[in-house]
């Protein structure tokens, strides 16, 4: 072991940091890249399979219903407003603000899960009817799995925030959860267009 020479002291460095200064932020970005790739593969598959059909949707298959999916897309988009509030409040270390906005987000994400269940019937095709149905279902399931995970995480964090002795670290975690939320709800918009609207004009 070589002798050492102290050249700096890090005692005064902070422990709670946000954004790209935090390890968890980078971890979240890593998983966004992985899951973004998975959803992108669904898109590639969707358009690849499209080439095998003369019409889209294929003959004898109805176009999807639009009401529920459009409400879902709107809820997802608008949910970013309270989540942005969560993000900002967490960076201010404003626990009361974080709590109230997280309750709103928790309600919204449960609504999204319920709407997702109805979106499957809005497709108006079964997964085993044709490749068109398979890829539409797969896209909803792939995004739905992420939605389910995020629901579990959001609800758990919200419960955690109402425990005594909330730590600063938890607030940083709330902000990283917000980043994932932006991704999850933002990425749904093009997927919504692909799954529910392209059968109307492709």
């Amino acid at each position: 072991m070589r002798p050492t020479r102290a050249v700096a002291d890090v005692r005064a460095l902070p422990r709670t940091v946000f954004g790209n200064r935090s390890l968890m932020w980078w971890g979240t970005v890593g998983f966004i890249m992985i899951e973004g790739s998975t959803l992108f593969i669904c898109v590639v598959t969707y358009f690849y399979l499209r080439r095998n059909f003369a019409t889209w949707p294929p003959e004898h298959i109805l176009r999807p219903a639009l009401l529920i999916p459009t409400i879902q897309a709107a809820v997802m988009l608008l949910s970013n407003i309270p989540m942005r509030g969560v993000d900002r409040a967490s960076k201010r270390m404003d626990l009361a603000g974080v709590r109230s906005a997280m309750v709103i987000c928790s309600i919204l994400i449960v609504i999204m899960c319920v709407l997702r269940a109805f979106e499957f019937s809005a497709l108006k095709v079964r997964w085993d009817t044709s490749a068109y149905g398979s890829v539409a279902w797969a896209t909803l399931v792939a995004h739905g799995t992420l939605l389910l995970l995020e629901t579990a995480e959001t609800l758990a964090i919200t419960v955690l925030l109402f425990q005594p002795n909330v730590e600063d670290r938890d607030l940083s975690g709330v902000s990283d959860n917000a980043l994932y939320w932006y991704f999850l709800t933002g990425v749904w918009i093009p997927l919504y267009v692909m799954v529910f609207l392209t059968p109307y004009f492709m």
Binding site: W127, W137, D170
Partner: protein, 645 residues
């Protein structure tokens, strides 16, 4: 790129009592003995060593399968393996070598070495790391339990549809293939996130990106490739599993599905996979060449850029695996050009190493011999790669033994030789003892001869028209002699591997004690004890160049001020590695194992029934909740550190 040097603070902290620091760190980072504590360990070194040993066991198993295949093919019309067993053997051999040996062992080397080389105390997410290992182990056991129950996959490691689809592969063999890949992909992706975040955020102060060791760069490029490549095969195998389980039609032509879709999805992963295996090996070679020529590798920026370029180009070649499928002419030309182009960055690196060796003072130790072996064998594999990139030639030898020869030259020469060099080079660091040089030279010599004896004749066999994946051939073909030669070569390889295992077993007990830096290496892993203590470095080193141990041989500049009563680590900025924040690492935990068991229940039940999702998902979510919920010592320690300000 000009990067400001690390600036010393105006008032350096007083020198702390190093012995006391060390004593306290021993307690805080202690790994108590016993099986339960071993299971709970989240130390990157202990997890990585498990990965390495497990992957080596799978390597031996896949090697034994190869030996059986070579025994079967040693003469015409042989009856050691029947056609059905042979199909399972070559499939499980390929799946094991690619998914259970090559990728995991390369990542594991990175998970062991990256934190040590960048002066960190652990990987960024220690529990995720442990989870990755358990999932990997579960995937491997799952494949082999199925194999020993005569349900081993028999559709090739590429699992082409329609052969692997519900119509032509009834039973569960193809499901085992699809799901065992899912396990290993999750582990690989977890490892990739670890390596990226660790290399970006936990580097020692002063280790700017352009001072990062070449091996860390290699691991970083590999990790990014994993991030973008692995989801393709994971998704493709899920599509396949759904076609088989719930009658979706992704690959069913009758209902608008597409068999070629599988090939695109698979090879968009499958070709980068080759570089995912190969790029870490480039890092091993750079480390070994620098140490044994006593000079930094020539052309550092060019080396880094070549690895990054290989990483990008690796994604633009996948269609060259599909030249025989009748793709458009323009596509063929593009992918021929791209396939030839990737030889350029590889060639640049070879020339940089030659320049380093040329201008250095080479010491012909065993790790260095493996590097020389790598250069020879890999260049041959590279040449046949350029030949195969040409469509007319590819059409002639497609699905023949020429291709088998080519990719074994590339993978064994390009990855396994450097890996063995790495074993010999870092074994002293991992265990505290040297491997025997004498046995090492036998290991190298026999491996080199055996490898060429096995695979060189396959070029000729391929040109003579011997197809791949046949369990036997007729005497009239005239392929008997060359096949016998190849089989003798396989026996020589097996002998060399036996010598390696003996070397490890003997050296673990009786090897020469290594000391901190037995080879005179220049990177930070050699600045700590062999084997390193659980906290790696008592004080985090500060670096001011690319070869810290050569540049400051007498004493090591360090930072002070991390707590010793909790598992404190330093987080630095991504580009310039300036100290930015402190982070408390989690204590050992059994939750990664519990979560991996829940994952296994989910995946395995999904093979039999879609209700597997209903059973497995809540278990998985509960396990995640248990993992993440702050309580006990973890909670107390966090409150302690947060109250310090």
């Amino acid at each position: 790129m000009s990067v400001p040097a690390y600036r010393e603070p105006q008032t350096p902290a007083p020198y702390e009592d190093e012995e006391r620091t060390r004593r306290e760190l021993e307690v805080t980072w202690a790994q108590p003995p016993g099986l339960w504590n071993w299971i709970r360990s989240v130390d990157h070194k202990s997890v990585a060593k498990r990965y390495i040993v497990t992957a080596f066991v799978f390597f031996v198993l896949a090697g034994l399968q190869a030996a059986m295949m070579r025994a079967q093919l040693s003469r015409p019309e042989n009856h050691i393996l029947g056609p059905d067993a042979y199909n399972q053997f070559f499939t499980v051999h390929g799946v094991t070598m690619m998914f259970l040996f090559a990728v995991p062992i390369m990542e594991a080397m990175g998970l062991y070495l990256v934190p040590l080389m960048i002066g960190a105390r652990n990987v960024a997410f220690p529990r995720l790391n442990a989870y990755g290992y358990w999932v990997y182990l579960a995937g491997g056991l799952f494949l082999y339990i199925a194999f020993f129950l005569n349900t081993g996959p028999d559709v090739g490691w590429f699992g082409y549809v329609p052969l692997s689809g519900p119509e032509f592969s009834p039973g569960k063999r193809a499901d085992v293939y699809a799901q065992s890949i899912t396990f290993t992909e999750i582990a690989a992706l977890a490892g990739a996130v670890e390596i990226i975040v660790t290399a970006f955020k936990n580097r020692a102060p002063g280790m700017t990106l352009n001072r990062m060791p070449l091996l860390v760069w290699a691991m970083l490029v590999q990790a990014f490739m994993i991030l973008f490549a692995m989801p393709w095969v994971a998704t493709a195998t899920q599509f396949l599993a759904m076609d088989r389980l719930v009658a979706t039609h992704f690959f069913n032509y009758a209902e608008g599905g597409d068999a070629l879709l599988w090939q695109h999805l698979f090879w968009f992963f499958g070709h980068p996979e080759v570089y995912i295996i190969f790029i870490p090996a480039l890092g091993f070679v750079s480390s070994i060449v620098a140490t044994f020529t006593r000079r930094p590798v020539f052309g550092y920026p060019v080396m880094v850029l070549s690895m990054v370029a290989t990483g990008f180009l690796g994604f633009g070649l996948w269609v060259h695996h599909m030249f025989a499928t009748g793709i458009p002419l323009l596509g063929e030309s593009f992918f021929t050009g791209a396939s030839m182009m990737i030889a350029i960055p590889s060639g640049i690196q070879i020339f940089c190493w030659i320049a380093t060796i040329w201008s250095g003072r080479p010491r012909f130790t065993v790790p260095f011999l493996f590097v020389l072996g790598f250069i020879v064998i890999f260049i041959i594999g590279g040449f046949t790669g350029v030949m195969l990139a040409s469509v007319p030639f590819d059409q002639q030898v497609h699905d023949s033994y020429f291709v088998v020869a080519h990719f074994h030259y590339v993978l064994i020469g390009g990855a396994v030789f450097p890996l063995f060099g790495a074993f010999y080079y870092w074994f002293p660091k991992m265990t505290g003892r040297m491997l025997s040089e004498r046995l090492g030279r036998w290991n190298f010599g026999l491996f080199f001869i055996g490898m060429n004896l096995t695979f060189f004749p396959m070029h000729q066999l391929g040109l003579e028209g011997m197809p791949r994946r046949v369990y036997t051939y007729l005497p009239e073909t005239g392929w008997g002699h060359l096949n016998l030669l190849a089989s003798i070569g396989a026996a020589v390889i097996a002998l060399s591997m036996l010598i390696f295992v003996i070397n490890v077993a003997v050296s673990l007990r009786n090897g020469v004690l290594a000391g901190d830096n037995p080879w005179g290496g220049e990177t930070l892993e050699w600045a700590t004890s062999s084997p390193p203590r659980p906290y790696n470095f008592a004080q985090i080193p500060v670096v001011s160049g690319r070869a810290p141990l050569w540049e400051e041989p007498d004493e090591m500049p360090v930072v002070t001020g991390l707590r010793t009563d909790v598992r404190d680590v330093l987080v630095t900025t991504m580009l310039d590695a300036e100290p930015d924040s402190k982070h408390r690492h989690p204590i050992p935990s059994s939750w990664p194992l519990i979560t991996a068991i829940a994952t296994t229940i989910l995946f395995v039940t999904l093979i039999f029934t879609p209700w597997g999702a209903v059973i497995g998902t809540p278990l998985f979510l509960l396990a995640l909740l248990g993992w993440g919920w702050p309580r006990g010592r973890d909670k107390r320690e966090q409150q302690l550190v947060e109250s310090e300000g």
